[in-house]
Amino acid sequence: MHLELAVQTTGLTRDFGSFRAVDGIDLVVPAGSLYGFLGPNGAGKSTTIKCLTGLLRPTAGSMMILGTNPIADPVSVKRRIGVVPEDLALFDRLTAQETLTFVAQVHGIDRATAQHRASDLLNLMELKSAGTTLVTDFSHGMRKKLSLAAALLPAPKLLFLDEPFEGIDAVASRQIKDLLLSFVSHGGTIFLTSHILEIVERLSTHIGVIAGGRMVAQGPIADLRAGAGSGKSLEELFIGLVGGDARTPAALDWI
């Protein structure tokens, strides 16, 4: 059976001088999946996302995003993806509406469609009343929601989300989770990183685990859990994969 892939990399490598941040990873992200990309701090998750979204060029290896090589045809790939990067990528001195207008214009979306979609998204994210407020006056949570709205506005086929639940309150988090599930149920693909393993466990259909720039496990979440032994939570599986057990600190008896 031919499996349609939203993201596929072979030997993806990225160096910063002598430091190898991503070390030959082979990603396989099926279309229509919600792929949780996990790893400890500094494992290379954000660098991988930067390579996949065209912000960084890989030092070695190849990539295919939605069937297109993003290095050969970056504009075509960027038309079909949405990204919420770690720095949230928003103009401080634009309002929420102007931000969405900017995104609509660079994607060549006509004015009526843009207005309709922006209105829906601002309502959904509960940012309607802040639509004419400058982003510089937004809280972190509001920025995150606006960044997600900006990523969704062009109706992408593939979403890259770098820590979308960080700094988000419980209500907004629930809304975003529902939104992401709805996006996937309509055929979209999500590639997300998060340190909140409970959320990844609930949402993801597939996971990939990276540690020290190398892929240590990848596949459908059910298969990985079955392989690790019955009854293991994703947290236990994750800690086992990244070697967290060995790093248990000696008892701090002075605390």
Partner: protein, 553 residues
Amino acid sequence: MLLNSLENTGARDRLERFSLAIERLGPIMAAVFLIPSMLGLAIVASAAGYSLGRGDQHSLLFEALRYLLLFIPIASIVGPLFLPAADRTNPVRLLLLPIPRRTLYAAQAATALGDVWTVIVLPIALFVPFGLALAGALDSAVVVLAGGAVFLAVVIGLSALATSVLHLIARDRRRGELLALLFILIIPAVSMLPGLLHGRHSRGAQRRGSATEEVHLPVWVAAAAERAFAVYPSELYVRSARAMPAREVQTAATRLGLLAIIAVAVHAAGMFVFGRILDSPGATGARRSVTARKAWGMTIPGLTPGASAVALAQLRLALRTPRGRSILLSPLVMMAVFAVVVLRRSGGFDLGPVSLNGGLGFASFTSFICLVATLPIVVNQFAVDKAGMTLALLSPLSDEEYLTGKEVGNALIAFPPALISLVAAIGIFRSGSPALWAAVPLALIATYLLISAPAAMLSALFPRLVDLNSIGRSSNAHGLAGLLGMLAFVVAGGSNLIIVLAATKWLERPGLVPILLLGWCAIAFFISRVLFAVARRIFASRRENLALLLSDK
């Protein structure tokens, strides 16, 4: 080959290292110059103290130190305004420490010891007494040393008070931005006026052949100014230092006592304001809204929607940040100052090598200044967007669209003030050849066409994350980009000047000027397209560096 080398990661890293080294050169050069300056000042102070000790109360060296000290209290008040926000003490962090408030205040005040204006006081406060001691006036040396210590305390207190007051004002973001803008606009204008007006008096005097032309102040103003000057901190120190060797012990004690009272008062005020900050250290400020109607659907004719969106975002950045607003407004303030001066003196005046005779010279100069004023944004056009730049880089914009959008956006920032200057000059002066008036906008267009691509190259090669809410160094472009950008402006502007001189002086046909400049505009357009292709390649090779700027990899 050079462009290809930029695409190589190693070369890119070398360029970044070079760029950082250039950025760090400024403080190193300052330190290099500061050390011999301080040594020189110590020698001068010793000699001045020695002269005082030998009975020369009006020693030229001590008079020179007096004038230098006059600026110190002013610098300690104004100086903190120009420091980057990140360089100021963060009271929220301090509050987390188990330290008494008085100690926190002392720690904050002690940071003023690193300020240049405080460092200047140190050799004077130490070495004037040293000179006095060398001259054998030991008792005077002790008193003057005490006076120097108290004066130093006043300077530190003023700096701490100014920093705290600024923090109180600026924690309301909107109020802070307004303050920043006012300073940017008012300080240069005010600082230029005395010199320009003085120039008028001396020139007028020269014209009339009289020796001097004195300006008389009302008696009460002069008396009040004299009384205020007598209790000015540096004057109190100077007068007490002069009184002691002359055996005017009471005068010296009175001045020293007054100086000590001022020191106590300044530090009390400083502690009070600092306490207010510690009580509520968070930032405040109402959210700023923009009219919804403006947000939708505006597209600049002739551009793709993407390029138009980039251009409008660039213009909005300038309109909504203090530094951006100052770029738009300060040339107009300057123009108003020059207009007043030009109108008050018949026949114009010289500004260095530039002669502003009549409306044409005035219009050319001020509109050129309007273009040059955009330098901090134009030569750092990508990085000024900060996280917005990442959004642009993630967007499906071709490099050409992005650079075109930036080029047009920068033009939208530069041209309105320039055209306002031109129209105002026409309205005010009305004289001169229409052909030459028409030449001014053509010269501006040619200049902008020639500098836009080099500016994009410099922005890609030497990006610098800046804070356009700041009025100091932290809102400036990369030093090298600024320098080369200024050079590009001068070369581009100078080419117009050569054409004008060729037509008016050598060919003696002023009517030819607009025709020649129109032709030059066409050539400049062609040159700019060639340079633009190079800029596009440089930008493409530097996309990664720009993307990594925020994460500082």
